[in-house]
Symmetry: C2
Subunit: 196 residues, 2 copies
DNA sequence: AATAAAAACTAATAAGTGTTAGTTTTGCAA
DNA sequence: TTGCAAAACTAACACTTATTAGTTTTTATT
């Protein structure tokens, strides 16, 4: 009957993943059925299996894609910025932008990872721990170089990254704040708290 | 066979709700089955219905209990603290303490509310919007009285409350940070960013 | 127009869901 | 010890779940 529509630059598999991200975000992974996903693509559920292996594979694709992108950005930041403060700002800005531009997928990676199956679950958590450590190293470096006035880098990382993650709470509210304003104001509030 | 164990100060219904909160937090509402909940209480699933009305009633109990407690605290803070800065600090500290002392239930109210059924869903979201507005009023008052240097109270509320909510991320990590240290350090980092 | 591959379909399966009905066991009061 | 209510049980229901098998339709190529 109907065909799975995919944009010019995306395969049909990618179209399925994108819709899945939207539904997983909206209803949660477990509460989203394959029939529902198929329905929203104008197709019967078994047809999806021409493109994907399983429901859990969809979740896995989303989570690992996000993990990779965040790690990749950290590589760039570590090599291309001078001061620790500049690194922190670059990291915060990337998180904010990702949050605003790839909301569905970031949200799913942040909230639905617990439904990953082993061994992907362990792998995902390992990657995340690793990411945290690398960010924390940036903060520690900032303390050594006397750029930051924080005393506990772990708490600082936790505080800042969580604050940014909280943008998901803002999403949909659509107050009279532009994306740029929000980003700048947030960076200011957060960095003011820790920069010397 | 086995009986549902309830602590000295709690009814059996409360014991069920508490275990439900733990499971809903750990596996998510949809992925938690009544059989599983019963199992963890050493009982068969239908036995639960001697004490509760339905699965969704469990979620409702948890969410509305948390909503009430946060509102109640705000009543106290509004009346019993002098400056806006003191109010902000008191709110932040309450959020942190709740997060650390009633982790399961706070987590569920924060993450699983979307599975509430109407009309409780709308009611819950209304309460939350209301809470935000009241907190925002505190910030606006702080700007008027020249106590705060923020320019956008909405972004500030978002940033601070999200940062605190991010404690869920810390929970379980058990770094070498005591609860008090964490609370004080976090309050410092956050207030430094906005207090004049 | 014929053919082969891609992609949709229908039907079915086995497992799991919340919940109800009806029955048995348990524990306490008389 | 008897009797009664509270609280457990078993069996079953009507649905929903992800997924597979097998078949038909669509699409593009020769």
């Amino acid at each position: 009957m109907a065909k799975i529509q995919s944009g010019e630059n995306s395969t049909k598999k990618e179209a399925i993943i994108q819709k899945a991200a939207f539904l997983f975000k909206t209803k949660g992974y477990s509460a989203t059925s394959m029939r529902e996903l198929a329905d929203s693509l104008g197709v019967e559920a078994p047809s999806l299996y021409n493109y994907i292996g399983s429901k859990s594979e969809l979740l896995q694709s989303i989570c690992s894609k996000m993990a990779n992108e965040f790690h990749l950005n950290l590589d760039v930041v570590e090599n291309n910025t001078a001061t620790a403060v500049a690194k922190v700002e670059a990291i915060v800005r990337f998180h904010i932008q990702k949050m605003l531009n790839n909301f569905d997928e970031v949200f799913v990676a942040n909230h639905e990872w617990k439904h990953l199956k082993e061994p992907m679950l362990s792998s995902f958590l390992n990657q995340r721990r690793n990411y945290e450590k690398r960010v924390m190293a940036v903060f520690e470096n900032g303390i050594e170089k006397n750029e930051l006035r924080i005393t506990n880098p772990y708490v600082a990382v936790l505080t800042i990254l969580s604050a940014v993650r909280g943008l998901e709470f803002w999403y949909g509210h659509k107050k009279n704040v532009t994306q740029e304003e929000l980003e700048n104001e947030m960076v200011k509030n957060l960095l003011n708290g820790i920069v010397k």
